[in-house]
């Protein structure tokens, strides 16, 4: 555009001095520049975030942060809706609604947050998967990025289908249709298998080399992928595959999300700072005599807390209580693998092998990693020789081994009559913020 000024000026030689001035002004305008493609100086520019190695590392860390910071959304609903947690007097109305199953409003934050946060994690994973191939990384690093993105995407979807009956998968289109759980579960498994394939091309030395920039402290990449595969294969009823995956998880390794100060463990914030929730006393009362695990999770000797509604009796939680050195939150506990195998074997009719595994869990008196130990006597073979007996016992062990890990709601669906408890809600409703904006799923 400045050039047009110059040409105009030059084309009329009789303009004399004025022409020279205009020409100079034209030059001035050219110097002024007219670049309107400014970046936002207050925020990392999107093209750099998406196209540079530094940006990719930051996005991968951010994706893990989104998941780690929303772990409470997953635990709150699943623990309040089942018989794990109760609500304290200060709890918000929405928490009480989850606990009682009454007056649920789909605009409550507890209904919206698990959905919102999972999709934000999924979006970050999608962004990484779409861009990481263009950054000039070597295959080992590229494979770690893709495996990590697939793992977190799978975990986010896995959480979603434990809470909502049907959820969108393809979020690249506006107003995506909701997909049934089975379809989503297939997606989760495909992602995890693909992550495992990617990781297969990576050496332990490669993982160690990228840990300082890419991975969280205490996170074990391979074991987490296998553990998640075991968890979701079991959910899908692929028992042989679940056993195989669980077998490849190292029982002496813990894989966690860590929260060094100033980060905070979200459960600590919820249970101790905000003081919204406590453990239902029935969790302690219904344990078998001598079971050491309730004392791992709950302050069993404390006086009951004021509860709301007042007819429930709750005790203070104990795990994840340290605000000064926030405790990490496990992505899975190694004993879950034993119980997955036991359940899969039971459902395949291999009761004797299953019984052995159940007793392995019951009779633990110590663990090389931070997880509860039961310290119970082994049950006689006669008590574990039918499928019903085994399932009931596995459900019991899962209740005490995997307290407040967000798994109990799904257990109530899988074990059915083998559990004596009924969740207060079958599923969470589709959040209001989704159904008012997503035309393929209008509010009901």
């Amino acid at each position: 555009m400045p050039r047009f000024m110059l040409v105009t000026a030059a084309a009329r030689p009789h303009w004399h001095h004025a022409a020279r001035i205009v020409a100079l002004l034209g030059l001035g305008l050219a110097a002024a520049g007219c670049n309107l493609d400014l970046e936002n100086p207050n925020s990392p520019p999107q093209n750099e975030v998406l196209s540079t190695p530094d940006g990719a590392f930051a996005l991968a860390v951010g994706m893990q942060a989104q998941f780690a910071n929303s772990i409470d959304d997953y635990v709150v609903t699943n623990s309040l809706i089942t018989d794990e947690w109760g609500t304290r007097s200060r709890a918000l109305v929405s928490y009480i609604s989850l606990f009682t199953g009454q007056n649920i409003d789909n605009s409550y934050l507890v209904i919206e947050s698990p959905w919102d946060n999972s999709y934000q994690t999924i979006r970050s994973a999608n962004t990484l998967l779409a861009n990481v191939g263009t950054l000039g990384f070597g295959p080992a690093l590229t494979n770690q990025f893709t495996a990590l993105a697939k793992l977190y995407k799978a975990m986010a979807f896995g959480m979603l289908i434990q809470q909502y009956q049907s959820v969108p998968i393809d979020i690249s289109v506006a107003g995506p249709a909701l997909q049934p759980r089975a379809v989503v579960l297939d997606t989760v498994l495909a992602l995890l298998q693909s992550a495992r394939t990617d990781l297969g091309q990576v050496t332990d030395a490669d993982i160690a080399a990228s840990r300082s920039r890419l991975l969280g402290a205490g996170f074990d990449f391979r074991n987490t992928v296998n553990a998640m595969l075991a968890r979701y294969q079991l959910m899908a009823g692929n028992y042989a595959e679940a056993i195989a995956a669980a077998d490849s998880v190292d029982p002496n390794v813990l894989s966690v999300l860590s929260y060094p100060i100033p980060e905070r463990n979200p459960i600590e914030d919820l249970a101790f700072q905000l003081a919204y929730v406590g453990a239902l006393k029935s969790f302690v009362d219904e344990a078998q005599p001598g079971d050491q695990r309730p004392a791992y999770w709950v302050d069993v000797s404390a006086a009951p807390l004021a509860s709301n509604p007042p007819d429930s009796v709750i005790l203070p939680l104990k795990k994840y209580s340290d605000p000064v050195n926030p405790e990490p939150f496990p992505l899975y506990l190694p004993d879950e693998m034993l119980l997955i195998k036991a359940e899969a074997l039971t459902r395949l009719g291999q009761n004797a092998q299953a019984a052995t595994l159940v007793n392995d869990v019951r009779t633990q008196t110590s663990s090389s990693v931070d997880q509860p130990v039961a310290g119970l006597p082994a049950l006689p073979a006669s008590a574990l020789d039918t499928q019903d007996e085994l399932l009931a016992e596995i459900a019991y062990e899962r209740r005490y081994e995997l307290f407040e890990q967000g798994l109990r709601w799904e257990d109530t669906r899988r074990f059915g009559a083998a559990l004596t408890t009924t969740p207060t809600l079958e599923f969470l409703p589709v959040p209001r913020s989704e159904c008012v904006t997503n035309p393929s799923h209008p509010c009901g």
């Binding site: 555009m1 004025a18 929260y259 989704e434």
Partner: protein
């Protein structure tokens, strides 16, 4: 890349190098003379003189004298125009190297058709040519406005259809201007300011929180227009809507205020020295509870043991308010010779606020130079440097507010210094001791600013003129907010915030205008132009807590810092064609392509058209034959135009990232607000039409305008399906409209040699309506009660109401309250409820008021009594606007207001804080009051001494002027001032009075000597 400064300097250098080549030798002479009032013989200042067909011209001085140099020899037509007079022209024969005298006598007239205005950015034109309204305010109306330290203050009551409010009575305080209503929801609503063609910054940066709380948008107490000295203003032109402002493109939705500063005149040197002394005082004090017996709040806050016990009371207002003094000194030197004109001016302004510890000082200097290099080329330079310092005190809802502490604290509290403890007693309610705020808090704001422009005007041959303009507005604003340790409580360790904002604006305009007359009776004026603007605004803040004792800078154990940057650029090209047919019918059409960095890449270039028609019907032969003796002149006009508004967020087009850490590593996550590639300007389309009718041989002129503005594509936050991974996005979705009429009647009521009386009566009504929001059920609440609701005017008050009985009377129910420790049952009103569709009940919120005025009206008068005495009176009224009186509400809740005196005598229902059951604290309807007012805005009396004894002091004349501002207010509003607003310039939150400093009554005495 070069910085703007370097470019600017480079450009200057280039221009200077070219100059010698451009100067051309020519036979020229000088024309000089005097302009006087035909009736009174009084000199007429500020008359515009022009030599036809050249760039040459000047304006007359205070003594009516003028001089034009370098006029080509031969017969030259000279035209004279002046607001309030009939235009005239005459042919003068200029002799080379000699001075030719030409005096002009002007006849008073109310019509303004001949006046030259700058309509938008095109070439200046006579008003009769322009189809849209351009309101002009003469420089003397601005500079002589008593007590007005800023231009916007001085404009109050002088622009038809503008609602101009001073937000707070603190000196250096901000003013907000609404031209033809509010035009945005999330964006700003203040007009664009242009000084000598350069767009300047008028931001009101709330760098520290002194008015509304941070959670409510941090209203600022100042705005940057206050930096300009009204004494330097030649005249102001106001473009009120899109029809007029289309060539300002994407920044003009709120209208444009074009300010022109004074320039020198050829001829003898004029020196003007002005000294002014002013006094200001509060219009009133709050009426406080001075009952000799204790009320509920006194007991609760420890001022008394039981209700009804005798109690000593303290009204500290006389110690907080004072009579402030001010001075305003200004010197200007202007003149010109040999093709050079200059205007140099310097000013020093001081103002003490009516609240002790509030203060304002401003130093400013201006140089306007112009050099006629030949009759074809002129270069001008304007430079203005300003320093100002304001000392503010927190007010409004700040718990540290000075007046706030008065209404929050029962009068049984004695805040005076306690000699026994060596400290001021802590406030029993909340916030610090008011004397600590007054004496120990510091909230200064200092500004250093440079405004500069270079203009080159060339007329290479008689039909073509070229104008190039480069301008900068460069300033640094530093604020500070210091709260000493132990000031608010015994555990408070002190805090200091020290933010600084740096702002740079750069303008670059090139305009070419070509005049031709292709056939007799048809004149065409074509304009093409280019404009580039660039804005940079950066804020860096340093703050500290845990301060060492007796220290007020950023040091101490806890220190924080932050930085933010806002940058945007626009580029525009425009074309305008004006056709004059038979000298009576004028058509204008224009197109403006404007692009902004804030628009998404898909919507970068935007087209803003305009069109106008003006038909001077009164000059048609058939008109003259028929009703020409009733309407001595008549003009019909109509105009249409579109403008834009920048999206509220400059970076809303991007997917921005925010920092989120994991496992001790810094990470990035996408903001939950999705970027919008296709974000475009908020677009306004305005139609206006009207007429100007001269009556009684142009002794009266009636101006009527109807306008209809619709602003679409308003940027609002729209919720997205969360499954996208985002929660919301800014989209161009909202719509609002403003419709209204503006009527002005200018009259010359009396015109005799010994007595002239002119007056101007205006009426303006605007109806605002929110046409569309993101979803029709949306209610955006801004500030406290101001709401944006579809189908309603913007900013209506929306809040809790009383339950009422079947007759509409407030319902009462028995309620148990504790009085002196005993439960008593009293009948009390309660908050109204509504039944929801599902059968449950909820508290009712209703629209309970509207801060937008039904209409505004002004009546200004000027009287000339003989040759020497002049008087002027300006009444400024606003009608039908509601004000939310939070001052009264809070003072009642805390038992401070006078109304609470009768609380237990059966006279009134209990108000106080502790006696506030039944959801009363959320009932607002009784605090919405009619804020209609008429203010005696300005009244002035001046006497001109031109007797020979004056000359003994070397002066030509001396003017003594006694004036007052806001001398009296007629209103039913119960608070101190219905005009103030807690939320300053906020677009939506209007009409909220919350311990806001009232506008003072000001008296000024000034003396002007002319040499």
């Amino acid at each position: 890349m070069l910085s703007h400064h370097e470019r600017f300097v480079g450009l200057l250098a280039a221009v200077v190098l070219l100059l010698p080549a451009a100067v051309a030798a020519q036979q020229t002479g000088t024309v000089s003379g005097r302009i006087t009032d035909a009736s009174t013989g009084r000199p007429v200042a500020d008359a515009q003189l022009r030599v036809a067909g050249t760039l040459l011209g000047t304006t007359s001085g205070d003594d009516g004298a003028y001089e034009i140099t370098a006029v080509p020899a031969g017969a030259q037509s000279i035209t004279v125009r002046r607001l309030g007079y009939e235009g005239t022209s005459r042919t003068v024969t200029v002799t080379a190297a000699q001075t030719t005298t030409a005096d002009f006598q002007l006849r008073a007239a109310a019509v303004t058709l001949g006046q030259v205005v700058v309509s938008g950015v095109g070439a200046p034109a006579e008003r009769r040519v322009v189809g849209n309204t351009v309101e002009t305010v003469a420089g003397s109306d601005v500079s002589e406005s008593p007590g007005a330290t800023s231009i916007d203050q001085a404009l109050q009551g002088k622009i038809t259809g503008a609602v101009i409010s001073e937000n707070s009575g603190q000196p250096g305080g901000g003013v907000s201007i609404r031209l033809r209503g509010t035009n945005s929801i999330l964006g700003g609503s203040e007009p664009l300011y242009v000084v000598d063609g350069v767009i300047i910054d008028n931001s009101s940066d709330a760098l520290v929180s002194l008015g509304a709380n941070a959670s409510r948008g941090n209203a600022a107490l100042s705005n940057r227009l206050a930096d300009l000295d009204p004494d330097e203003i030649d005249h102001i032109e106001v473009l009120k809507g899109a029809a007029a402002a289309a060539l300002y493109g994407s920044r003009a939705n709120n209208g444009v205020i074009q300010i022109f500063t004074k320039h020198g005149r050829a001829g003898k040197t004029h020196v003007t020295v002005k000294g002014e002394y002013s006094l200001e005082k509060t219009p009133d004090f709050y009426a406080l509870n001075m009952s000799p017996t204790a009320g509920y709040a006194d007991v609760v806050f420890g001022g008394a043991d039981s209700i009804g016990a005798p109690v000593q009371r303290f009204d500290i207002q006389p110690q907080i308010f004072r009579t402030g003094q001010g001075t305003n000194d200004q010197v200007s030197i202007s003149g010109g010779n040999g093709g050079t004109t200059y205007y140099l001016s310097g000013g020093y302004d001081t103002e003490q606020g009516i609240l002790r510890s509030t203060d304002y000082r401003r130093w400013n200097a201006r140089t306007n130079l112009s050099q006629q290099l030949s009759d074809k080329l002129q270069v001008s330079l304007g430079a203005n440097y300003i320093r100002s310092k304001a000392d503010f005190v927190p007010e409004g809802e700040q718990t540290q507010g000075l007046l706030t502490s008065v209404i929050f604290t029962p009068t049984s509290y004695n805040p005076t210094f306690d000699k026994a403890t060596g400290s001021y007693p802590y406030n029993p309610v909340l916030g610090p001791n008011p004397f600590v705020i007054m004496n120990q808090f510091e909230a200064p704001e200092t500004v250093a600013r440079f405004l500069g422009n270079v203009t080159i005007t060339a007329r290479p041959f008689s039909h073509l003129s070229l104008k190039y303009l480069a301008g900068v507005d460069d300033y640094r604003q530093e604020d500070k907010y210091f709260q000493p340790p132990f000031s608010t409580s015994s555990s408070f360790t002190g805090s200091v915030e020290n933010p600084a904002a740096t702002s740079r604006l750069f303008n670059n305009d090139l305009t070419a205008t070509y005049d031709m007359e292709p056939m007799s009776g048809l004149g065409l004026t074509s304009t093409a132009g280019f404009r580039y603007t660039s804005n940079w605004h950066e804020t860096v803040e340093a703050a500290a807590g845990n301060l060492p004792p007796v220290t007020d800078i950023v040091t101490g154990a806890v220190q924080t810092a932050s930085q933010s940057i806002a940058e945007f650029r626009t580029v525009g090209w425009y074309l305008e064609e004006r056709a004059a047919i038979a000298g009576r019918l004028y058509l204008t059409g224009g197109l403006n392509w404007d692009a902004s960095s804030a628009f998404g890449p898909d919507e970068r270039l935007q087209l803003f058209p305009r069109a106008g028609l003006s038909w001077v019907l009164g000059e048609e032969p058939f008109w003259k034959r028929s009703i020409g003796n009733v309407f001595s002149s008549f003009r019909l006009r109509a105009a249409f135009g579109e403008t834009g508004g920048q999206p509220p967020g400059l970076y809303s087009q991007f997917n921005n990232f925010v920092n989120l850490n994991f496992s001790g590593k810094p990470g990035l996550v996408a903001s939950t607000t999705a970027g919008n590639d296709s974000l475009k300007p908020e677009r306004q389309r305005e139609y206006e039409m009207g007429f100007d009718a001269g009556l009684f041989k142009d002794r009266a002129q009636l101006e009527f305008t109807y306008y209809n503005k619709r602003t679409t594509d308003l940027v609002l936050s729209v919720p997205l399906p969360p499954s996208t991974g985002f929660l919301q996005q800014f989209q161009n979705i909202g719509e609002l409209s403003n419709k209204g009429v503006e009527i002005a009647l200018n009259t010359v009521n009396v015109e005799r040699p010994s007595f002239t009386w002119r007056s101007r009566l205006t009426y303006a009504a605007n109806r605002n309506r929110i046409q569309r929001l993101a979803t029709s059920a949306d209610t955006l609440l801004v500030g406290y009660l101001n709401a944006v609701i579809e189908g309603q005017p913007i900013g209506v008050f929306y809040g809790g109401v009383y339950a009422r009985d079947a007759n509409g009377k407030i319902a009462y129910k028995p309620t148990v309250v504790k009085i002196n420790g005993r439960d008593s049952t009293v009948m009390l009103p309660y908050r109204g409820t509504v039944t929801l569709p599902d059968g449950s009940t909820a508290f009712a919120n209703r629209i309970i008021g509207d801060p937008n005025p039904d209409f505004t009206a002004t009546f200004s008068n000027s009287f000339d009594l003989g040759k020497h005495l002049q008087m002027s009176v300006l009444l400024d009224g606003r009608f039908g606007n509601d004000v939310a009186n939070f001052t009264r509400r809070i003072s009642e809740l805390f038992g401070v207001g006078k109304d609470t005196q009768g609380e237990f005598t059966g006279d009134t229902i209990p108000f106080t804080y502790t006696l506030n059951p039944n959801g009363r604290s959320l009932i607002y309807e009784e605090y919405i009051e009619d804020g209609s007012f008429v203010k005696l805005r300005e009244v002035a009396l001046q006497y001109l001494f031109d007797k020979p004894w004056i000359r003994r002091f070397g002066a030509q004349s001396m003017t003594v002027r006694l004036a007052a501002r806001n001398l009296y207010t007629w209103t039913n509003y119960s608070g101190l001032d219905p005009e103030v607003n807690l939320f300053s310039e906020n677009t939506v939150a209007r009409g909220v009075d919350f311990a806001t400093t009232p506008l003072p009554r000001q008296f000024t005495l000034d003396l002007t000597l002319s040499y």
